[in-house]
C-alpha cells in the first residue's frame, strides 16, 4: 500500500518529478559512461601489456629488474618453467633474451636493443613486411629500419659484449620489419630467434626474462605472484608482477580511479541537493494532507517511509533511464582510437587503437549506490520534517 501511495505521489507534481529524475538520470548516465569508458581503456591497456611486452609476471635472475645486466640470467629455464607450471596451473611462459648492442648497415649504425624471442610463442610484435626470422636472420623495428635504411633481405651487423666479456659480433640478414605495442621496440629493437640471441651473447641455455601469462586475463595478480614466489628459489631468482615492473603505469591507472571517485562525489552532491529541494517542496505542499493522515492515526514512521519511498521511486526510474542513456552513448560511439590521443604513447606503451566501448556491469554498482543513496539522503530531511509534524498545527497550515 505504501509503495502505491508513494508511486502516486511521484506523479502528483509530474513536471517537478520529471525534472528531479532527469537530473538523477543524467548523473547516473555520467557515472556509468565515465566508469565504463575508463575501465574498458584500462582493461585494454592491461591486456596489451600482459599479452605482449610485460606479461602478467616475469621471472628474472635476482637483481635484474633493478639493474639489468647481460650476465644476470636465469640459468635453468626448463626447471623454473616446471616450477611455475606447478604453482600456477594453466599458466604459460615465454623465454626472452635482452641485451644492448650496436647495429650497423652500410655506413649507418645505431645503438639498439637486441631481443631474442621464441619464434611462434612470442606475440610481442606484428610482422609488417618479410617473414619470421630463421637462422642468422633478424627482424627490425619499423622506425629503426627507417633510421638504418634497411629493408628485408638487407644485411645487418650486430656488435655487443657477450656474457663472458668477449666481443659479440655477427652478420645477419633482415628477414622483415615489425610493429609492436611499444614505441621503444619499434624504434630500437632488433629481434632474433632465441637460440641465435643466446649464442650471440654467449649465454648457453640462460635467458633474461621468463614472461609468465595466466590462463585468464586479470589485472590484480598479487596472489598469483605470491604463489609463484613460493615455488621459486628466491636466493637466485626474482618474480615480479606487471604492476611492480611498471609502477608508473599502475599508479596512473589507480589515480584515474581515484579521480573518478571524486567526480562521482561531486555529481552525488549536486543531484542530492536537487532531490532535497524537490522533496522539501513536496512535503511543504502537502502539509495539511500530512496533518490529516496524522489526525487519522497514521504512525509517524509510516509517514517517513512514504516520503522516502517517493524519493526511492524517483531514484529507481532515474537509474533505469540513466543506464539506458549511458548504453546508448557507449554503443552509439562504438569504437575509440586512443592511439591518436596523447601522441599514442604513454610511458613507452602504445595506447590501443581499437577500443570497443561497452557498458561494464561493474559501473552499475557505483551508479546504483549513487542514485539510491542520493535519493534517500536528499529526501531524508524533508521526510523527517513530515514525520515530526504536529497534526493540529499541520491542519491549520495554509
Amino acid at each position: 500500500m505504501l509503495f502505491a501511495i508513494a508511486w502516486r505521489n511521484v506523479w502528483r507534481n509530474a513536471r517537478r518529478s520529471i525534472i528531479t529524475m532527469s537530473a538523477l538520470a543524467l548523473g547516473v548516465a555520467g557515472i556509468v559512461t565515465l566508469f565504463s569508458y575508463r575501465e574498458v581503456a584500462n582493461e585494454a591497456i592491461v591486456a596489451d601489456l600482459t599479452a605482449g611486452l610485460v606479461g602478467h609476471m616475469q621471472v628474472h635472475a635476482l637483481g635484474y629488474q633493478e639493474a639489468p645486466a647481460i650476465g644476470l640470467t636465469v640459468e635453468n629455464p626448463v626447471q623454473v618453467e616446471a616450477a611455475l607450471r606447478g604453482a600456477l596451473p594453466g599458466a604459460t611462459s615465454e623465454r626472452r633474451v635482452i641485451g644492448a648492442g650496436l647495429a650497423g648497415s652500410g655506413d649507418r649504425s645505431s645503438p639498439v636493443m637486441v631481443l631474442g624471442v621464441e619464434p611462434g610463442v612470442s606475440n610481442l610484435y606484428t610482422l609488417e613486411a618479410g617473414h619470421p626470422p630463421g637462422a642468422k636472420e633478424v627482424l627490425v623495428g619499423r622506425a629503426l629500419a627507417d633510421d638504418l635504411g634497411v629493408k628485408p633481405a638487407d644485411e645487418l651487423v650486430l656488435v655487443s659484449q657477450g656474457k663472458d666479456g668477449s666481443v659479440a659480433n655477427d652478420r645477419y640478414t633482415v628477414a622483415g620489419t615489425f610493429v609492436s605495442s611499444s614505441a621503444e621496440l619499434d624504434g630500437n629493437a632488433v629481434v632474433l630467434p632465441l637460440a641465435e640471441a643466446q649464442s650471440f651473447f654467449a649465454l648457453g641455455e640462460g635467458v633474461h626474462q621468463l614472461v609468465v601469462r595466466l590462463p585468464l586475463q586479470k589485472e590484480d595478480v598479487t596472489p598469483e605472484t605470491a604463489a609463484l614466489r613460493n615455488a621459486l628459489d628466491l636466493e637466485t631468482l626474482e618474480a615480479l608482477s606487471w604492476a611492480e615492473m611498471l609502477p608508473q603505469m599502475k599508479a596512473s591507472i589507480d589515480n584515474k580511479r581515484k579521480n573518478q571517485g571524486f567526480v562521482d562525489f561531486i555529481i552525488f552532491v549536486i543531484v542530492g541537493l536537487g532531490v532535497f529541494n524537490a522533496m522539501t517542496m513536496a512535503v511543504f505542499e502537502r502539509t495539511r494532507e500530512l496533518g490529516v493522515l496524522g489526525a487519522l492515526g497514521t504512525r509517524p514512521r509510516r509517514v517517513l517511509a512514504m516520503v522516502l519511498l517517493e524519493a526511492l521511486w524517483q531514484g529507481a526510474l532515474a537509474f533505469a533511464v540513466g543506464v539506458a542513456v549511458a548504453a546508448a552513448v557507449l554503443y552509439g560511439i562504438g569504437t575509440v582510437d586512443l592511439s591518436s590521443m596523447l601522441g599514442g604513447d604513454v610511458m613507452g606503451v602504445k595506447m590501443p587503437s581499437h577500443l570497443e566501448l561497452k557498458l561494464l556491469p561493474g559501473s552499475l554498482k557505483g551508479a546504483a549506490v549513487t542514485a539510491f543513496f542520493t535519493a534517500i539522503v536528499g529526501a531524508l530531511l524533508p521526510a523527517l520534517r513530515a514525520m515530526r509534524l504536529e497534526p493540529v498545527e499541520a491542519l491549520r497550515h495554509t
Binding site: G104, D107, P111, K163, V167, N169, D170
Partner: protein, 257 residues
C-alpha cells in the same frame, strides 16, 4: 695521455735536445718543465708493440693478446692476436677523433657512433674515449707540485691537476704521483666533478728503453668493485717506420692489418 698514445714511444739514443732533464734533486721543481718531461717519456712519434690485456670482473676473467701500431697522437691500429673465438682478428682503427672496428665474425667494419664513446672497449675498463682522446694533461690542466713523499718505497712527487676553465675533460681533478728518479708516473687518480675517486691507474715494471724509463705494466682500477684491467707490454719496436697505409680505412675493410 690516451691508452694508445701511451705506448707510442720514440726510442732514440738521446733525448730531444730541447727536452728538460728530470729535476730529480728538487723538492719543488718547476711544474711546467716537469710535466713536459713526463709527457715526453710516455709519448712519441711511432711504435709497434705487442701487449696483453687482462680483464678481471666479478663474473669473468680473461686475457686478450694484441698488437699495436701507432703514429703520433692521431693514428693507431690495434689487432687482436689471441682472444675469444669471435674476436681473434678484430681490429680497432683510430683516425684522429674517430674509431672504426673490424669485426671478424661479421667480416665487416663498423664506425663507432659518437654516443658510444663512453662505452667499454672490448669489455675492458678502458672506454672508447680513452683510445681516442689525444689531448695532453699538461694542456688541459693546471698542475701543482704539492709535496715530496715515499710511494711504494720510491721517492715521489705528489702533483695535483685541476682542469683549466675551457678544458674539455670529464674529470674534476687528477692526482699524479711521479717517480723522482725517472719522472715516470707511478700512479694516477681520476676524480669526477663531485670529487669522488672514479678510477685509479697504477704504473709498474719500470724498464730502461734507450734514454727513457718506461712502465711496462698499467693497471686500471675503476671505482666499481672487483674489476680491473691490466696491460702488459710484451715487446716493442720503437722508432720504426710505420707506413701511413697501416691506418687506411680501406685496408681495415678488407680485414688486413
Amino acid at each position: 695521455m690516451s691508452l694508445l698514445v701511451t705506448v707510442a714511444l720514440f726510442l732514440a739514443a738521446d733525448p730531444p735536445p730541447d727536452l728538460p732533464k728530470c729535476p730529480s734533486g728538487e723538492d719543488a721543481p718547476d711544474v711546467v718543465q716537469l710535466m713536459k718531461r713526463t709527457e715526453a717519456l710516455l709519448e712519441g712519434r711511432s711504435s709497434i708493440a705487442v701487449m696483453s690485456m687482462g680483464m678481471k670482473t666479478p663474473s669473468y676473467e680473461r686475457t686478450v693478446k694484441m698488437k699495436l701500431w701507432s703514429k703520433g697522437r692521431d693514428f693507431a691500429l690495434v689487432r687482436v692476436l689471441e682472444g675469444g673465438p669471435r674476436e681473434t682478428g678484430m681490429m680497432t682503427l683510430k683516425r684522429e677523433k674517430q674509431l672504426w672496428n673490424y669485426l671478424p665474425q661479421a667480416g665487416r667494419v663498423m664506425k663507432l657512433p659518437s654516443g658510444m664513446m663512453g662505452d667499454s672497449w672490448m669489455g675492458s675498463d678502458f672506454t672508447n674515449d680513452d683510445l681516442v682522446r689525444g689531448s695532453s694533461l699538461a694542456q688541459d690542466f693546471t698542475s701543482t707540485v704539492e709535496k715530496t713523499f715515499e710511494h711504494d718505497g720510491r721517492k715521489a712527487w705528489f702533483v695535483t691537476l685541476k682542469p683549466k676553465p675551457d678544458a674539455k675533460t670529464v674529470w674534476g681533478k687528477v692526482e699524479l704521483i711521479l717517480d723522482r728518479a725517472s719522472c715516470v708516473p707511478l700512479e694516477q687518480r681520476f676524480f669526477d666533478d663531485e670529487g669522488a675517486l672514479a678510477r685509479r691507474m697504477a704504473y709498474s715494471d719500470l724498464k730502461q728503453l734507450g734514454w727513457r724509463t718506461f712502465p711496462m705494466k698499467l693497471t686500471m682500477y675503476p671505482s666499481e668493485n672487483g674489476r680491473q684491467t691490466t696491460i702488459t707490454y710484451e715487446s716493442m719496436e720503437l722508432d720504426v717506420d710505420v707506413a701511413d697505409d697501416t691506418f687506411s680505412l680501406r685496408r681495415l675493410q678488407q680485414g688486413r692489418e
